[in-house]
Every structure is written in structure tokens, then in C-alpha cells.
Symmetry: C3
Subunit: 480 residues, 3 copies
């Protein structure tokens, strides 16, 4: 039976000189706590601390990296126990789904899943044989037994993972009850929320009508007027801050911003609420609202994250049967220089505003994003995102942004995941790749070793705390 391999030097550059430097850098930061300021885990896990059930439900069915690849090779989502639209779980034996996945594990060779999952299997569950058809049942049973034990409850794993902070993401129509329950429980784990108001801003969002009602209820504002609608956002931002939020997040298809007069805003808003906004007006409203969100961030200090460029639900048939987030979101070319100009004209020079830009279009790294972040005080670069959250993708991010934006206009790593068990694996990949990149700079005598060590620490914990307004825990002493 082939062994599960988690080589201590994995992901470090092959050249022996560079690898030795990288290994030293990595040794210094491998044990630092995990700061996870952007992700999609379910706060209910930490509120109830209930046990997860089995490998399929926890690791396979919710992981779009896994089921999209399997689907691309002709494997039916039902056979993988992926929920259908409305959360309906297909009547698939989860063990059979796991076997199917195991039998096709080779499809993931060369993908980041082939780094993340063995880390979960080996480090979290202590498995030491490789996954394949012959070991599928052993995996399924081992994982299932572990999950039934107290040590594998969400809070226990949170502590074992040495997580300093974990941010979840909730919509503007969320009552934050799970976060309230976490706070009320007295548990010390720091789980905070993030304000993601897409579904009450984007008139084309499929939950817009429903979520606007909840938004009104929860804020107590009259969201029928432009002033009341803005006031509702301010209220809810405060609600979210009370649950630890230090950031907002915005994921529209473009990065467009606008700077309309109040009269224009009122007219546009009336159209939107009257259901009469066409595609151009919907886009203009989203653009104006990005500017409004920046204005509120200037007021309340929340860090603003912009995640544009995803063509959501590209596969119409799959969207009809299975709904959102089923691996059918496809990136598109994204423009930032003109798109952000209206917002930057107003707030670009604000020294205390923090706007973190993400992209799915790597061509903008060196051409647009690094030049923008290397100039405007308010702009910072988010890490390589989604399809690019991978060894090669992270390497390209550093190679294409550092020379113009430097390291200090970046914000550390985001795991951006709902796969809680893979969080240590994902942070570990990022740490290894960053150390490898820094090691190359040292090996090429472009940087001193002590500078690289300082930067490794910054990229792991320092910059993320600063960018998201997080305090360093008292117990940790920053290097001099």
C-alpha cells in the first residue's frame, strides 16, 4: 500500500541553496498562530460544537474544488452526494460517494487539493497510507470514528489548529444568532463575522427581494428611502462590529465604482426598489454602493474587501438543478484603473481607509493592481484568490506584484474556505510558498537573510493583523 507522503520540504524550491534558506525561514514561522480574516466556515459549528458526521459530508460534498473536477470528467454530482438546489441531499450512500472520489483521486494530481487533502488526512486524522480505491473504506471508517470523538469537535479542532482569529462571512439579512451564541457561551475562541451586503445591494441577486425585507426588519430602518437604506447599512455594520467584524466584503462582477449626486442616487434607488432597474442601472447602483461602502469605512474604520471578476453560475442547467456555488463560476477579464477612479477621487488619499483588492484576472497584478496599490494610500493587495490560491498562483502573485507594490502593501494570506479542516493545510501552503519566494531573493542576493526572516513573519501574521485592524495577542512578542 503506498504511503501517504507529507515531505517536510514539500513546496520548497528544488535548488539546494535556495531550499536550505527556505527551510530556515519556514522553521521560524511554521508554528505561528493562524490568523484567518476572510473565510466561509459556518458559525453554527462553533456555536453548537456538534460533531460532524462522516468524510463525505464534511470533506467531499461541500468542496467545490473536488466536485467540479470530478464533474468535469463526467461524474454525476448525485453520485458524490452533493446537495441539490434548496439543500436536498441525494439518496446516495455517503460511503459509495467516498469510494467514487477515492477511485478518481488521481485526477487531482498537480492541483492544490493534492496538497491540502493529504495534509488533512495525515496531520488531522493521522492516516499514513495514500488514498486510492483500496484504502477508501479505511479512510471512511477512520475519519468517521475520529469525527465521533470529542477531540474532533469544532471547538477542539479550532484550539488544536492554533487559530488566533477566524472570520466568517454573513449577509446583511443575517441575524448573527450563531455569533451571539458563541459570545454568550463563554468559549474563548475568537470567531468574528464579516459584513457582506451583496444580496441587498445587487438588484440582480436571486435573493435580493427576500433579503431586503430581512434587512429592513433587522435594521429597523425604512429602507424604501435612499437615506433610510443607507442608515440601515450603518446600523447593520454596527451590529456586525458588535460581533467582532472589522471588515466588509463585496463581490460584484466588476470593480466599477461611481460618484453620483444625491439627487441621482435617489432616482436610481427608486428605480431599483421599484424593480425597474435594467442591467445598466443595476450595474450603476452596485458601483455607487461600493463608493458608499468606502464612505462608511472612512467613518467606522471597517476594512473594505473587493472581490470582483467572477461570472457566477455559468452552467445554466446545473444552476437550475443544483443552485449556486457548484463549481460553475468562471473568472473573466477585470478592469480596475477606470473602474475604481470615482471612488479613489473621493477617498483614495484617506490615510486611515483600507481597501483590499482581489482579482481572478492575473493580468492585472503587474499592470493595474500593483501600480494602484503602490501609489494610493488606501489600497492594499489581497492574496492570490480562489483559482489562484495554489502554489503556482501564489508564486505568480509575488513575482508580479512585489516589484511595484512591495511586500508592505499586501495583507498576508486568506484561506477563503468553508473547509474548516483544511485551514491549517492552506496556511501551510502559503507559508511554504512565501518562504520559497523570499529564499530565492536571498539566494540571488537581492535581500539579506534577516530581511527575509522579518518579512516571513510579516507575511504570516504582521500584515494581516494590520490590514484587518486586529490586535496582536498579548502573549506573542514581535521580533525586534
Amino acid at each position: 500500500m503506498p504511503k501517504l507522503s507529507l515531505h517536510p520540504d514539500r513546496l520548497l524550491p528544488a535548488d539546494p541553496t535556495t531550499r536550505a534558506i527556505a527551510r530556515e525561514l519556514y522553521a521560524e514561522i511554521a508554528g505561528l498562530p493562524i490568523v484567518s480574516p476572510h473565510g466561509h466556515t459556518d458559525p453554527e459549528w462553533f456555536a453548537t460544537d456538534a460533531a460532524w458526521t462522516n468524510a463525505t459530508e464534511l470533506l467531499l460534498a461541500p468542496d467545490h474544488y473536488l466536485f467540479r473536477m470530478l464533474y468535469s470528467q463526467g461524474i454525476d454530482l448525485d453520485a458524490l452526494a452533493v446537495p441539490r438546489k434548496g439543500g436536498v441531499i441525494p439518496a446516495t450512500d455517503p460511503r459509495e460517494a467516498w469510494r467514487l472520489f477515492a477511485a478518481n483521486w488521481k485526477l487531482f494530481r498537480g492541483t492544490p487539493s493534492s496538497m491540502w487533502l493529504p495534509h488533512v488526512f495525515g496531520e488531522v486524522f493521522g492516516i499514513d497510507v495514500a488514498l486510492d480505491e483500496s484504502t477508501a473504506d479505511f479512510y471512511y471508517d477512520t475519519i468517521g470514528e475520529a469525527l465521533a470523538s470529542p477531540a474532533f469537535r469544532p471547538r477542539a479542532l479550532f484550539e488544536r489548529f492554533n487559530i488566533e482569529l477566524l472570520a466568517t462571512t454573513e449577509g446583511a439579512g443575517d441575524d448573527l444568532k450563531h455569533h451571539k451564541a458563541i459570545q454568550a457561551s463563554g468559549w474563548q475562541g475568537k470567531v468574528v463575522t464579516t459584513y457582506r451586503p451583496d444580496s441587498v445591494i445587487d438588484p440582480e441577486h436571486d435573493s435580493f427581494a427576500r433579503d431586503i425585507v430581512r434587512f429592513a426588519d433587522l435594521s429597523g430602518e425604512n429602507v424604501e428611502s435612499w437615506t433610510g437604506y443607507l442608515a440601515a447599512h450603518r446600523k447593520r455594520r454596527a451590529d456586525f462590529r458588535a460581533m467582532g467584524a472589522t471588515a466588509t466584503d463585496h463581490g460584484f462582477v466588476t470593480a466599477r465604482t461611481a460618484n453620483l449626486s444625491t439627487v441621482e442616487c435617489e432616482a436610481l434607488f427608486a428605480k431599483v426598489m421599484g424593480g425597474k432597474a435594467g442591467a445598466d442601472e443595476a450595474e450603476l447602483f452596485r458601483a455607487q454602493m461600493l463608493t458608499e461602502m468606502a464612505r462608511m469605512s472612512v467613518e467606522d474604520g471597517m476594512t473594505m474587501q473587493i472581490h470582483p471578476g467572477s461570472t457566477r453560475n455559468h452552467n445554466a442547467r446545473l444552476f437550475a438543478s443544483h443552485g449556486r456555488d457548484k463549481g460553475a463560476d468562471i473568472p473573466r477579464a477585470t478592469e480596475y484603473v477606470e473602474a475604481l477612479r470615482p471612488m479613489l477621487d473621493l477617498f483614495g488619499n484617506e490615510p486611515d481607509l483600507k481597501v483590499i483588492l482581489f482579482t481572478l484576472d492575473e493580468t492585472t497584478y503587474a499592470r493595474e493592481l500593483a501600480p494602484l496599490a503602490g501609489h494610493y494610500p488606501c489600497l492594499k493587495l489581497g492574496p492570490a484568490w480562489w483559482f489562484h490560491d495554489s502554489p503556482e498562483g501564489m508564486r505568480r502573485f509575488r513575482e508580479m506584484t512585489t516589484e511595484t507594490a512591495g511586500f508592505y502593501n499586501t495583507v498576508g494570506f486568506n484561506d477563503d474556505t468553508r473547509a474548516f479542516l483544511s485551514i491549517p493545510a492552506r496556511h501551510d501552503v502559503a507559508r511554504r510558498i512565501d518562504c520559497g519566494f523570499l529564499a530565492r531573493l536571498v539566494a540571488e542576493h537581492r535581500m539579506e537573510d534577516w530581511e527575509a526572516a522579518e518579512l516571513a513573519h510579516e507575511l504570516t501574521v504582521g500584515l494581516v493583523r494590520k490590514a484587518y485592524g486586529l490586535e496582536a495577542p498579548a502573549r506573542e512578542v514581535e521580533p525586534a
Copy 2:
């Protein structure tokens, strides 16, 4: 006299650890047969098995990689014996043309021609001195003498090259007589055709009017009606399949597809045939026909290849004097996500349809193509194409597609060439680059050595056979 160098480790990574792994991988697959499912060799060569004449006519005058570079440095195409419009051969002494090429051989340093041609010179002709002014005549004579001998006839070289299958490309107005002659000859070499109907689909193609007539004649259908026109395609696809074709190929300037109603199709088709289609309507017709071709592929099982993004005949003066394919085709930015949507809405989830996407716009690798192929069952990624069919280009292809699409959504290598003698060289370059890429993954502990070995075999023969619906020859045993 400088020696011709064909170092056994050429193109393998310099790092000793990685090179050693790459060398082992390469050793295992270097001797595998050549499967060439997409190219532009002349079937007449294999039908008549006539001898080629000289180095200039065979290796220089038809090779646009060579004469475009020489032209860019101010060398006249006439002096290189490149045919003028209508195939008129200039009255240039072919030996003089060869000398001119030899004297300028240094221009190709760092280009893929500097890998391909020495392989041809050394491995095919047994030459062991480097090409330059002083050896030009020796080359010309050696090659000329060889070509006159039976061992250098097309069929003999085909066998010597260990070619398992070679696909040529013919238009919809081609009578396939050479392929018929090959079949009738009893020769065992497997030379098949490919259905490329561009000139009867694109109203802006310079041969459209002429080829539509041939298309009608050969199909026996009334191509004046939309129904008859589609029936003619079905007939001709069957004709091509009878000559071994398993694939179609489509090379329009964009990847746009459409999904019009039958009534709309009929109206548009009438305009096209009446010569009244403007540029937008011509584009819409090509778009609709890509969808029709996909529909027919669902019916008849032929693999569909899409090669968009070339701005053909950019140099107006050269097009007037020398016609098509004279090195003046320039890539352009190409969009896939919206362009392919109408076709994917209809057939994207068909498990048995195979649509292979190519690009000249590398920015789409990670942003559009890998995400599309990593989701839709029908989509596969063609190899790095044309300007990117080169060591760095192939490396970028793997680095930018693998993490999202994996290896198994790719289809092996295409040589895409009419330079028959360079086919082994081109496949060899691809094998070396793939082994180098795999070796890096192994050296960085991102993959096991046995996995890399399996993949090297897949990338060389396994995936191409699968993608193009080719059977593995009985004699070869796939590794367990």
C-alpha cells in the same frame, strides 16, 4: 567547424536533482510511438510516396517560422524561394536561398526552430556539424542526396519515425482523393483526415464562393437551403470519417457561438448565401455554425477542435503579393467565457461530447480556459499552440492550466505542422518539457515519482488517444 549539438539532456531543467528525475521520466517515454492527431502535412506525399527534391523546397520555403523571422530582418521572401500568390515559385536558385538562410541562422537563437531543426539535421540526416555560412553547401548537398534515396521517401520516414497515427486537415470542398489513394494502396501507415469546413462556413473567407460550389457537388445536397446546407455537412463529415477522420477543426477569429431559432437561422443563412451578410452577420453565422458543429459532434462522435484568435493576413501588401500563410498572422486577445456560453448551454453537460479549446492568448489559460475545462464535461484543453508551441510556451501552459484543470482535462501534444521531417523533433521537445515540469513537481514533493511516470505516459500517448477517439494499437501494453 563547430559541432552540431544535440545534448541528451537538452531542455531538461538545470537543477541536478530535478534533471535526474526528468531524465528518468523521459527515458521511459522517449521511445513511445508518435500520435499526431492534428497537423497540416500533405496527404499527397503518402499517396504517391514521391521523393522530395532539396533542402530549400522541403525545409525552408514552406516553414513560416523560418521565413517570417528572416523577413522581419529585412530579407526578401523571393530570395528565400518562398512561393508567391497562386503558388508561383520565384526564379531563385534554391541553393542560394539555402545559403542565405544558413548565413542568418543566428537569428533563430532562443526560438523553437533552434531546437527543431538541429534535431532534423542530426537525427534524420545524420549531419554532425553546425549550420552556418561555411557549411551551407555541405548541408544542401547532404540533404539533397539523402532525399533522393529510398530511405527518405515519405512512407519510409513515416515508419522510421514510429508514427502510430498522422492526421492531415482537409477542407469541406476536398475530394479526399489522396486519402483514398492511401487506403487503396494497401500501405499500413495510418494517415487520416480532419474535417475543416472554415471556407464553407465563413462568408468572409476568400474561397467561400468557390468552395461552396465544390461542397454542393461533393455532398450532392442542395446547399441553397439551410436544411440542405446542414445535410451537406453531415454527408461530408461521414465522407471524412470514412477516410479515418475522428475530429473536426474550426479556426475563426473569435470563439463566439450562438443559439438561434430555426427561423432565425434560415433568415441569416439566406443573407449569407445571397452575399448580403455584413460583418456582424458573418460573425453571427460563424457563431451559429460552431454550435451546429457541436450538435453534429454529439450525433456522430467526432471530436471538435476550436482554434480561434488569429488575425489572418495582417500585412496587406504581403497578402497581395504572396497570399495566405506567409507569417503575417498575428494573435489577438480572445474571450471564451461569454463566447462559448450559447453552445455550452446546449451541450456543455454532454458526457460524450469532446470539444478541445486552443488559444493564442495565454492570459486565458488560468483565467478562462482552465476554469471552463475544469468544470464542463465536454471541454478539454488543447496543448500550447503555434507561437506558444515552444519550450517556454509549453512550460507556461502547464504552470497556468494544471492547478485548475489538472492533467486529465488536457489532450497531449499536437505538432500542428506541415514540416513532416520535424514531427519527431516537435514531439520530442514536448516530451522533454512535460518531463521537466513533472520532475519539478516531484522534486518539490508535490507528486510521487510513480505518479509522474504514469502522467508522462498519459501526456505522451494516453490522453491523446482518448481525446481523439483513437484506439491504442494492440501491440502496446498500457502500464498497470
Copy 3:
């Protein structure tokens, strides 16, 4: 106190085999003279040979690479002594500005400034301790004392730097008095000008109205008529050639060219001069004028440089307070294939015309620029520019252009700088990166060592002299 590090192997690849090859290549060309055919130093320096004052005024306040990064981290430009609009110098103690820079020097880790400045500090000023807060005063004093000495006057440094030729850039409304003074002085240093008529071509340029008047005065032509306007350009081009110019330079936001009839040109010109040209007409006029400039280059032999793609003065507030060139120019996506077509239709096949293309959009390297330059006789590729004039940027340039355009369609290095003291540092970085790239090709057996040595020489001095029509100095013997 940490030492200033200028490792002899800096920027060479880490792999020992490759580094050894790179080191040998570099040793052969490190001492070659500097040919600087494109830059922005002030000719007054060489005309008057006056001493510079202090580190802040010379090295910090004019360097947009430095102050843009500091600004992006919230540091006020006033505190850095950066001049305000109209050249007003803020009342900042230059020593305090220098201390602020020194205290933030870590921000430049990983940027090209971290390679250039230590070279200036170490090689030009002989400083051997690293820059930080504790050494800021030592730096400031050491540099100030040196600058007061004769050995650090502009002409003395020019000679010490072994500069064979230095081109400055002047507008069409410049009287070239400094160049005349240099010529009249009898000093042997070769400082030439470059014709940059942007401000009399671009109706949207903020100096258009003013500069057109000077242009008329200096040319003595009636620039109110289209014919007179063109004649004025011809006159001024001749004036510039008399001051050594061999090149023109054009920096509009797009690369668009046009080919209007004379009647159309006259009508468009009348609108432009009447202040009635809208944005589209201004763009069309710039496009037509690029074609006119190419036409004049065919006539007078001047090399034409095209630098498109910069969104100038993106930060409106900063432009209002500080004016142009304050680090707020942001690249944008740039298209060349259709943009250049009208000009190429006319002059693309001219064997003696030289048009050098630059880009801020790296996606065009492999997709558009290398295919264009690898075909059209008139086109050459300028080196990696501005944000991409950096180790990684230069590496990407070679990796993405060489396979299609070769080395011989490139033109050597441009330092493009007004930071005179950094010129040796910048050329040194380019030489090291080129040698590293060539060394990799040798190490991978893609090129012979003697070929790489020949190319290293070409990339350093040969190609630049040829592209800009410069004669090699008699004393230098080219390698056989």
C-alpha cells in the same frame, strides 16, 4: 551596523551550474561602455556642470519610484521635500526628509530600488554600511560632502560611468539651449537630444496651447495650416538632429494610428487648432500624427519610439496639488494589432524604417508584440519599461518575447531615467538579468556558450547602436 551588501553574484540564478555560466558571460560584458539612447536626465547638468546639492534633492525628491511607495504607505510628499505644482519646493529640511526615507527603507525590499540605490551608495559614493534610521545622517553627510567635490560634478561622473552616449528627451517647444551649450563647450561627452512632440500633437495635453506657440516661433512655420504644421515638425526634427538626435519618442495613451486623406487631415487639424476637437477627434489626431511621424522617419531616418499605455495623473487631488509625474500614472490594457495596422499598411515593409514598440501591458509580449516584431521589418521591441524595468520584469520580457521575436528584433536596454547617478546601476541590473537568462538557455542545452557570449555583447551594446543608428566608437573592437 549592518554592512551594505553588493554581492558580486547578485541577480544571477541560484543554481550553481547556471550561475557559473552567467558569471562568465557577465564578466565579459560588465565593463562595456554604457549606451543610453532613451532617458530623462536634465541637459542643463552637462551644460553648466554645476554641483548637485544634497542627497534629498538629488536622489529622493525627484525619484518617483521612491516617493510613490512612501506615499502609498501614508507618508506626505511635503515631508519628503517633493516639489509641489509649478516646482514650488516645500519648506522641509532636506535632512529630515532623508531621515524619513531612511527610516522607511524596508518598504523597498523586493523592489528594483533595493538593487539600484545600494549600487549608487556603494559604487558611486563608496559607502559600506546599510541604510537605516541609525545611518541616515552619515549617508546624508557623506553624500553631501562628495557632491561638493569636483569628482562628483555631472561631467566627471559621466566620464567615470564610461557612458558612450546619453540621450535626453526634449519637447517640440524646447529651444535646445543646453544641448547647444554642451556642443559649444568643447566637452567630449556625447549627450544628445530626442524629439518628443507629444505636447504639440495631443490636443488634450495641458501644455498644448502654450507649446504650439513656441513650436511656431522656433520653427518659423505657419502652424495654423496642416501643411505648415507638418513643415514645422520637419524643421524641428532637423533642429534636433543637429543636436545629435537620432530618435523621436511618442507617449500617447493608446498605440492607435490612422491613415486619413489629406482633406480629412485638414478638416481634423482645423478642429484641433480651433479647440473644437472632442475626445474622439483628439484621439484620431494623435493616431494620424503617429503615422505622419512614421512617414517623416522614412524620410529622415530617425528611429521612432512608441510608449503607449499609461493613464497619466490618475490621482486627481494629487495632480491638483503636485502636478504631473508624481507617481500617479497607472498602466492600462493596450492593444497593438489593430491600432498599428493603418501605419503598418503604409510603412510596415520599409526596410530602413525603425519603429520601437514599448508596453506597460505584459500580456501583449507573447500575444501581439513578439508576433508583430517577428514579422514586420520596421518593428523592433523596446526593453521592459517603467514598472517592468526590474529583475522579474526583464526576465518575463525575455521569456515571453524571445521564442517568437528572437533576440535580434530587440534593441538592448533603456534606462529611461532622470536619476543620473543610478544609470550604471540600472544597466548593471539589465546586464545581469540578460546573462542569467542566456545562462539558463546554455545550461538547458538550448544554446552554445559561444552563442550566448555573442548575444550578451549584442544585448549590451550591439543592438542598441544598430537600433538607434549610433556608430560604435573607433576604439572598441567587436568580437570576431
